[in-house]
Symmetry: D2
Subunit: 138 residues, 4 copies
């Protein structure tokens, strides 16, 4: 973590009131923290747009009773092991599995893997969560 | 516009450097302006989530050669005239029309109208742009 | 418009029931129309991701009392007239103007103009609505 | 899994060509599978909009060197244990941790927890991935 720098910001009083109400509701202790988070959100969006090194999670659900499906999903993950950190598997109910793959790599590679997992027959839904390796938002 | 209030913000030096590069690239003159915009973005999101009075545009494209389509779209707009401010019509090419409906009203009503226009047979694509009446972000 | 092609789709019965309920609620007359729209949505997303020729609207609000602001916004639009089709201006209230710029051009150029308009001092909120020129989704 | 139902869909030939190219690129074996996925995407969006029972993942990154942070995050998770299924912790580098919380519950509760985790001082970025319990998209 780097040294804290202090600077002044000018804002319309009414707008500041609204912001204060919003951040209190969201549980922030100070304006600086809330603004820091807004800034980081923008920087993370930029990382993904510029195809930089990112981190994220690919979440998908499928029916594990479907013959051969688990092994196809495992094979596909092994083919991309250079960007997969680990996988968490959750039994949602008798049929549905939730699998969460933590990934780190170039944004385009992560998106490609998410598309590939999503399009496997029997995968019911897939979602990609975009976050950062943390380095560029320290 | 209300009176400007000045307050101090503390941020990690490295994070501030990255933010400064980002806002320079986007053409902002000062940090205050860039932060003001991030704050307003959040407030506008909140307006829509909380089903407040909002403004926006519904944009859709369709083939005007399709018999009866224009009049169906006009009828539908008249049925919702209480939230429609005005409509702009653009001839994209020989077939395709771009129609832009400026709307103001409750978020849920605007979304319902957008869905209705989008689902008319012959409408090729519809998009809803969410902005504010301006009052809550002054 | 091109010739209609008919093909068969297999879907789980329960899933189809849910889909039928959803599209009835949204006002679609047939499954074909609803599926056509889902397909077009995906194609339009792809156009934007692949930086193709697109159409869209840039919507922003600002306070027209702010000295020099209107002319800066007009200047900026003139500098990008090759992608701007037309502009619609709406007086939301005594202070707030809603301006809607219809655009057509490369996705990256449209996004750059949206960022530029949004970052002008005094512009309170800006939103970009992504649609298509219609050609690629006929 | 329920019984497969077969039905016919009519689509413009040119549009179908484009769709076929898109789904081949994404790795789908048949049109039915690709359409099934588009339908499920819409149904999952609806689940979240209507505040139904959903599943998802909350992903966030933080610096574990920050004193007291890990225990605050753990406490917060315990306070919401009724919607948390499990948590996966990944060491991205010397400083940055990636924590992935698998959740199941009402959409509004999940979103509230995501906001709470995101706003803890020291959490650098948080993202919410929205998927389904699988039941409503079988």
């Amino acid at each position: 973590m780097s040294v804290l720098v202090r600077f002044g910001v000018s804002l319309e009083g009414r707008l500041l009131d609204k912001f204060d109400r919003l951040i209190r509701k969201r549980g922030y202790a100070t304006r600086s923290e809330a603004l820091r988070d807004l800034i980081r959100q923008e920087l993370v969006k930029k990382e993904w747009e510029e195809d930089q090194e990112v981190a994220g999670t690919i979440t998908f659900i499928y029916d594990h009773h479907r013959r051969g499906l688990s092994s196809r999903l495992t094979d596909l993950q092994h083919d991309h092991q250079e960007i997969i950190i680990s996988t968490q598997h959750i039994h949602l109910d008798h049929h549905n599995c939730l699998e969460i793959v933590a990934v780190q790599g170039r944004a385009s590679g992560v998106q490609k893997l998410a598309n590939a997992l999503r399009s496997v027959k029997g995968v019911r839904h897939g979602a990609l969560s975009m976050t950062s390796t943390g380095k560029s938002i320290e």
